[in-house]
């Protein structure tokens, strides 16, 4: 039973002590700091994760042996209930060489290979029609237009329509319009009929990352040579390497936002790449080789359902592979980006450690406030005992005090936290403009706005955590009070 006098007295004690305001402000401040700092970081990390997810298929069957055929696996994968669509993918590598006087600088020995912005490319062969069903390929092109417009303050690209090609044959090779290719042929001195009429474009298209634009500014339809190495399918003997070259037409810029993906990858038709690897579609013995199969799972699947689906698909695919081949993998989007996401998460956890220390010090503030209250109120404890207060009731006075401080601190802190998260960019801009003070220097983020994402669950956790912590630290003085000998307390001066 909680006696009625406990809250009654607790409120009176708190109201008559300005120092309590300090305790509340201390708690509110720490709650506020935790919300704002974490919101910025969650926003930052969240944006990165969104970008990564946007660049990634929901599930990916990978680590397949050489010479795996899509046809061979497609039916088995699509039979699984979690699978909505599949798309074949072929990863390879190559060098891109523009025919025009190259502005690709000579590669520098101290450039990190993974951030290559020159002629290297990780090639991603796709079937555009299928890929659009599985990933956001269709959104990557408008995104590049938007990103570049933001970066340069004016539209840089015309709307890119290459993926809206109605003719499935042309779409599958991402061919640029006939007239465009003819003009480019003429301009670059390449073989072309005298007039554009009746000319059919021949070059397959290639999509480059918007990040290559400063180094390799291209016009749609401009020819590019792709150099690569293909391997003759191994019979019994050694596989032999042979270099290959194919002419491609620049078909557009894309942007997924996933830095590593954008910096490394060039997207081209899978059939073009297959031909490079010795599997030309017109050869009678060729197969539709893939290195991966991208899967779009049904929407709204729970994590467990997806996990079960991954296991089933893995087993089904493995059964169809040659018995000697290594186990294949079925990865969700996070597993596909494991290394990158781990590095990002680690920075976030460092920040949370710091925030934990903030909360710890805030707990000390509550403790100090309440402890002082108990010390100042020794005599009252004796009085309360004399007029019939039970030890528990007396302890509860101080516990209630802690609860009120914690709750008010949490409410104010959360309130201000929500407000400042909402107006963070405005306040930051205002301070930067009027006083040249940048709370969150934009250069640290390299973004037009400070990303800011306050998760309701986090706000609730922090608020409840503050209240719980207040109760926890209030428990010590409360227990001290309840154990006080009333006679001693009465004679305390």
């Amino acid at each position: 039973m909680i006696p009625a006098f406990s809250p009654f007295l607790a409120v009176r004690y708190l109201l008559t002590r300005p120092i309590v305001a300090l305790g509340i402000v201390g708690v509110a401040f720490s709650v506020w700091a935790m919300l704002v700092v974490d919101a910025v970081f969650t926003g930052f990390v969240g944006d990165i994760r969104d970008d990564v997810q946007r660049s990634t298929a929901g599930l990916l069957v990978t680590d397949l042996p050489h010479e795996t055929s899509y046809e061979q696996l497609q039916a088995a994968i699509e039979a699984d209930p979690v699978v909505l669509h599949t798309a074949p993918r072929l990863r390879h590598y190559g060098m891109l060489q523009a025919l025009r006087e190259s502005r690709i600088p000579i590669a520098s020995s101290e450039v990190d290979f993974n951030h290559m912005e020159g002629g290297f490319a990780l090639l991603l062969g796709i079937d555009p029609a299928r890929e659009m069903q599985v990933t956001g390929l269709a959104t990557w092109l408008p995104r590049a237009e938007k990103v570049l417009e933001q970066k340069y303050g004016r539209p840089i690209l015309n709307p890119q329509t290459i993926l809206q090609e109605p003719d499935p044959e042309r779409l599958s090779l991402m061919k640029v319009p006939d007239a465009t290719e003819w003009t480019q042929r003429e301009r670059n001195g390449l073989p072309h009929p005298p007039t554009p009429e009746n000319f059919r474009s021949e070059w397959p298209g290639i999509l480059l990352s918007y990040r290559r634009l400063p180094i390799l500014p291209m016009r749609v339809g401009e020819p590019l040579d792709l150099l690569s190495a293909g391997f003759q399918p191994a019979g019994q003997g050694e596989p032999t390497v042979r270099t290959t070259k194919v002419a491609l037409a620049f078909a557009g810029y894309f942007a997924t936002g996933h830095r590593l993906f954008d910096e490394t990858t060039a997207i081209l038709p899978i059939e073009t790449l297959r031909a490079q690897l010795g599997q030309h579609i017109s050869d009678p013995g060729s197969i539709d080789i893939v290195t991966d199969i991208a899967i779009r799972p049904h929407d709204g699947l729970s994590k467990d359902e997806l996990r079960a689906g991954q296991l089933r698909i893995q087993a089904a695919v493995q059964k169809l592979l040659p018995p000697t081949s290594k186990p294949c993998s079925v990865l969700d989007w996070e597993q596909q980006n494991e290394v990158f996401l781990n590095a990002v998460a680690h920075e976030h956890s460092m920040m949370q450690f710091v925030l934990f220390v903030v909360m710890l010090v805030a707990a000390f503030v509550i403790y100090a406030t309440l402890h002082m209250m108990v010390v100042q109120k020794w005599k009252d404890i004796g009085i309360l005992a004399a007029i019939g207060g039970s030890p528990r009731g007396i302890g509860l006075v101080f516990l209630a005090g802690g609860l009120v401080i914690g709750t008010l601190g949490a409410i104010f802190g959360t309130g201000f936290g929500l407000l400042s998260v909402h107006y963070l960019n405005d306040v930051n801009d205002y301070l930067a403009r009027e006083f040249q003070v940048e709370l969150f220097p934009k250069s640290l983020f390299d973004l037009p706005r400070i990303p800011c994402r306050l998760e309701t669950s986090w706000a609730i956790e922090v608020a409840l955590g503050a209240i719980f912590l207040a109760l926890l630290v209030a428990f010590v003085p409360a227990r001290k009070a309840s154990r006080m000998n009333p006679v001693k307390a009465l004679s305390y001066e």
Partner: protein, 447 residues
Amino acid sequence: MYRLFLAIRYLLTRPINLLGMFGIALSVWALVVVVSLFSGFIATVEEHVHSASADVSVSNLPAWAKWSKLRAALADEPNLSAMAPRLVHYGLIHHPGKRPAPPPLPGRTALHGGDQPFLFVLGIHAAEEAAATGFGGWITDPDIAPELRVKDPQNALAPQHGVPSVLLGVERMRAEGLRPGDTLVLTTGVLRTAPDGTKSPQQVQIPLVIAGAYKTKHGGFDGNNLFVDIGTLQQELLEGDTDAVHEIAIAVRDESQLDETADRIARIVHRAVDRGDQMARGTAQTWREKNLAFLQSVEHQRALLKIVLIVIMVTAAFLMLATLSMMVTEKTSDIGILTAMGGTPLGVTSVFLACGLTITAIGVLLGIGVGSLTAIYLEEVRQALLWAFGIDLFPLQVYNLDRVPCHIDPLWLVQVAGMAFGTGFVVSVLPALRAALYDPLISLRGT
């Protein structure tokens, strides 16, 4: 005298003041440890990057740049101690008999590369390179297993039985199970001009034999670069032009004048390659400038953490303000007595100010002491945490480190102490002023 005496009495009889002290100590501790960790990380990264870089690199040279001309021009630079020409190209390496795996998924690859068959190909002149960079040390690094070492470090890139030699990063050798003497094929392309003036890329295949491994401290460099003799690239890619150069590695005598030297070198290079059309290209960058983006990203993180860490100090300030204010409240009757005994308001103020500053001082000393110790033994702390809770404080392998880096910057310690004292002073002055403004009669009467 009575002030200090009273201040110390007050503090000793109030254990709660320890809490304020502890709060300050905790905030100072966190500021010292976290920032030292990041400073150490930056210092280590810089050291690693520097170990794999020339002091000054001349790059972005135009195709018509000539080594003989540039060498003669640069010889006048007084701060230059050695220079070496480099040709830089790129290509795919392939081991006969093995099919390479497809390239890794972009988010699943090692963060600094090294696990794909694409590499930069550096054509160097071994003896000159050894004079201008740490090349001599890279091929004799004690971490390279004896069976992977270059047999004859003096002639590291000498052809073997007529086949050009190649040096690979030790991690790549280990990961792919390669040995000196194994053969590789480098596949690359080069833009050639046909007799009719049209340009088209031509494939080039160069058979190579592995001479051994090299190791710099910069894993990102080792994973992405291979060394061949400059003559090999001149022969295969540049039609035997023995005077071609893409990059110049320069060692300086006096590191403290690095930036000025780089500026002078840039001007020399511009003059030397300018054909009179003001299109002169060629840049001279210090090793720090070359790796600016990477180094800056870590420094940005440190700056961001500093902002957040200040929050701890503000919270600790609340804590001290609370404890000190309470002390004043509790001591109202003492204040009356002091005033009655002839203490001036200033004297009363200073008693409480002294309390606050003593708390701050002890807190700062404690925080800096324990903080420095924690920072110095951070690796041991990390291992203890890993052993006890399985929490890894810092992903060493991601950054290619063998222990948690730590660099305690005395200037930062002074800054932190100054910040803490400033905070301590402000939060002590407020209650102390309140104490001085008490009416002695009211405070004597107590309630």
